[in-house]
Symmetry: C2
């Protein structure tokens, strides 16, 4: 199912076969939190920008429109019209970052919806049931994501519980995958490593979950306050403790530089809201550094965001036009910049895979970083 095609140092070029198609890794998943990419980007648009995997959020979809409704509609793929792989996160992160009046117990978490305040309970079994209803390709284990500044004893207790939760997730997923009315009976389950910035706790936890023989493993709770250097050090320690023959997913990461460093350390999967969020604010990526299209210097700039870029924005529209659209508060501005940024990320992943295929990742990485840092 997961096959390493090429290696360079710790970096892996691999593929993961799923019931919804084969994913070429390293891959950047495009975030569509509520079953839509923000910025008026449709799944038809995603077909034009090299997207391999769409990522949606269990917490958001459980609250609205409801996972049972999506199951009734034939699952998330059918609902949002996307026949390629989808990864759903477990809801754990959002329960801890968005929900209110949270109470953590051994059985799971009691919290209030950030939309209408209603009380909700979510534990490992509920998260698996929801993700099974959504019928995503890859489900994530239900975890607690402790703050990177939480104290040691809190974090130790938390990851111990997250490990117990993961076993319950695995049992529940097996049960759901064998049920008659389950839409995707081949749903995969990835476990999530936690432990804040305590390397020994993370390592012990990584070893423990590695024994559970899951379909893949994620490193969670990074890029939430610690420095980039701390993140890279944790990856240096943790990734080698995860099974080499399973995909590794670095959650919520990150900048193009973060991704290049992650790939070097053996990461296969990435996701981040940066390209879409930045695009909506006029920040666009180029291989000569980033631009802010709100700046007056682009008022009469007839060139595309990036010369030679084949994205739907650059193939047609000028910086001057997009600058005008932002000034005139036209939504089209956001859409064009989100399309460009996602295409930029997806193309970078394609370049990374090619570089790995040809055994020149190290030099590719250095050249890419040199270009990216020009304007920063």
């Amino acid at each position: 199912m997961y096959k390493i095609l090429k290696e360079e140092g710790r970096a892996k070029r691999a593929e993961l076969s799923t019931v919804h198609g084969t994913i070429q890794t390293p891959v950047f998943m495009n975030v569509g939190t509520s079953a839509a990419i923000k910025g008026a980007v449709s799944t038809m648009d995603l077909q034009q920008i090299k997207t391999q995997v769409e990522l949606s959020n269990t917490y958001h979809l459980h609250l609205r429109p409801g996972d049972e409704l999506i199951k009734e509609m034939g699952g998330l793929q059918k609902f949002m019209v996307w026949d390629k792989p989808i990864l759903t996160d477990s809801g754990g992160f959002q329960v801890f970052s968005l929900a209110k009046l949270r109470k953590i117990k051994e059985e799971g978490v009691y919290f209030s919806s950030h939309i209408d305040g209603r009380r909700i309970f979510m534990g490992p079994e509920e998260s698996m049931q929801i993700q099974s209803n959504l019928a995503s390709t890859i489900a994530m284990g239900f975890d607690e994501c402790p703050s990177s500044v939480a104290d040691r004893s809190y974090v130790q207790a938390s990851v111990d519980r997250t490990a117990r939760w993961l076993l319950r997730c695995k049992r529940k997923m097996e049960e759901l995958n064998s049920k008659e009315d389950t839409i995707n009976k081949h749903q995969l389950l990835f476990g999530i490593n936690q432990g804040a910035i305590y390397k020994d706790i993370r390592i012990e936890h990584a070893k423990k979950i590695s024994e559970m023989n899951l379909d893949g493993y994620a490193v969670g709770g990074l890029a939430v306050g610690e420095t980039h250097e701390q993140m890279y050090e944790i990856l240096d320690e943790v990734v080698p403790c995860l099974p080499r023959n399973k995909p590794v997913y670095l959650m919520g990461v990150g900048t193009p530089a973060n991704i290049l460093e992650g790939v070097e350390r053996g990461v296969d999967f990435f996701d981040c809201v940066y390209p879409s969020r930045n695009g909506r604010h006029g920040h666009v990526y180029t291989n000569q550094g980033h631009l802010n299209l709100f700046n007056a210097q682009y008022k009469t700039d007839a060139s595309p965001i990036e010369e030679g870029c084949q994205c739907p924005a650059c193939r047609h529209y000028s910086r001057a036009y997009i600058h005008h659209l932002f000034k005139a508060k036209e939504m089209l501005a956001m859409r064009l910049c989100v399309l460009h940024n996602l295409y930029f990320y997806n193309t970078m992943m394609e370049e990374i895979r090619e570089a790995l295929d040809e055994g020149r990742f190290a030099s590719y990485k250095q050249a890419k970083l040199d270009g990216l840092l020009q304007n920063s």
Copy 2:
């Protein structure tokens, strides 16, 4: 240049050849006020929904980004990447509906920008210069649009001045079209009939401007307060006073029913913000009446907005998905509904042309109205 292909009663099936291509009429122009269709619809999207003519606003583009900038960028077609015809209105209507601290003189209008308050002067020559800079296919004469409740003496003085302004527009346009550095030396000029609800004033004004031998004639100042019946009565009186061998444009109109009635009375060109504005609010048109996609009844409705519709929204997405997108405040909801509504209007115009071609407009019109009125 303008050729009537078929007639049925007063209704005309015609075509207008322009330097940017031939326009098949009756036609509905798609409104992109600030050089963009609201709802994140791009000019690439317009290619998919049968749009023939894009309409932009002189007043808005003069204020932002500035018509001289657009001229520097090669004109509006190049700026917004649309190689088919564009009609620009003259700014008259917006000066009277949007601008503040307005002073009307014989030479033109002094007013304050609704964006930053700066004082601006616009007269017939300025409007023509701006539209020449924009390099649209069809420019509109600079007019005053008196309120439909203005008293008789005010309206009489106003239309007399509008007629004098139109002569100045014509002279200025001839001068601009013969200048070396003009982008579109074949820019067409349509004159605008005004007169509020005073039929005799409108008729006298229509006759006067008809003598100016312009490229086309518009009826302005309707659909701004009077009843639909009053509008139809005015068209009954005014359109026969305009040259039969020139295109007639009913400005800012309207509902599908208004358009059918307008075609019957000899109108060729229409424009209106209804389809895009309604779409952004979840109101969509179908041949079985309109729907409000915010309604809870569409929560689990797997059918498209309209069965059999070939628009980009209906070819892929369900009412349930679009309902969810509106509830989740995802911009994609607006985009899909605007695309559907514009496609609905553009397709209706295509049906109208086919019906006229085949001499069955009267029965088509009745059947269409019966369908449209089902839910209203």
